[in-house]
Amino acid sequence: MFRITRRALALDGLLRAVRSPAAGAVVTFVGTTRNTNAGRAVVRLEYEAFVPMAEREMRALAAQASKRWPLCGVAMMHRVGRVPIGQASVAIAVSAGHRAEAFAACHWLIDRLKEIVPIWKREHFRGGTVWIGSQQGGPEPPMRGRPAAGPRRIRTRHAGARRRPR
């Protein structure tokens, strides 16, 4: 199952999709929307995808992972549209004969998804909005306190930020 959906992610369906009598382990990763990013208070997140290509790229990643590790099943879902804080925006399930390869493949899949699957995240924070990676939707807010520890992100600065915060 490789799906982009506007609905809340249903993990039972994801687990069913990777069920296999040959599996001794099922590893899941669920990415959830956090209430802070780079020291700013995040109100909600909004995702956009190039849906057919995103589903195709997820399927291609699963095929690559299955060549690299002996897996029984892979399923990936990503939510688009508005996602309230604390809810799942991405979910991955991997089943394998043993846990080591299931953990390794699941980790690799989420890292690769964030690098190549055509999905974009828009962060609505107190005082503005920004497309993560483009920094085009609003001014870079001042950093307050310690930046939230998080996954590596491409950050670009430029003089083109035109939109004023709402």
Binding site: E48, M53, P118, K121, R122, W131, G133, Q136, P151, T156
Partner: protein
């Protein structure tokens, strides 16, 4: 243009907000994706502020990829899926 071909353009996220989700263009046969992008940036200078990747018919391509009639060309700002 006798050797003109029709291509469909799609834009996403920060790029979409500047030029809209879809455009249609006539380009000379053999035009590269990179040359098309430079022409778009010349028309819409704000586009050049964001690093871009290209996909033709839903597959990633390099800037040197040459366009064929009916191609769907997608322009992506840096992707940022995940939690």
């Amino acid at each position: 243009m006798a050797d003109a071909i029709h291509v469909e353009l799609r834009f996403f996220a920060a790029l979409r907000e500047q030029v809209g989700a879809r455009l249609e263009r006539e380009v000379r046969r053999g035009t590269t994706v990179g040359a098309l992008w430079r022409a778009l940036v010349a028309e819409h200078p704000g586009l050049g502020a964001v690093p871009v990747r290209f996909a033709v018919n839903q597959r990633y391509v390099e800037a040197s990829h040459r366009l064929a009639a009916g191609d769907e060309v997608a322009f992506f700002p840096p992707v940022s899926g995940g939690g």
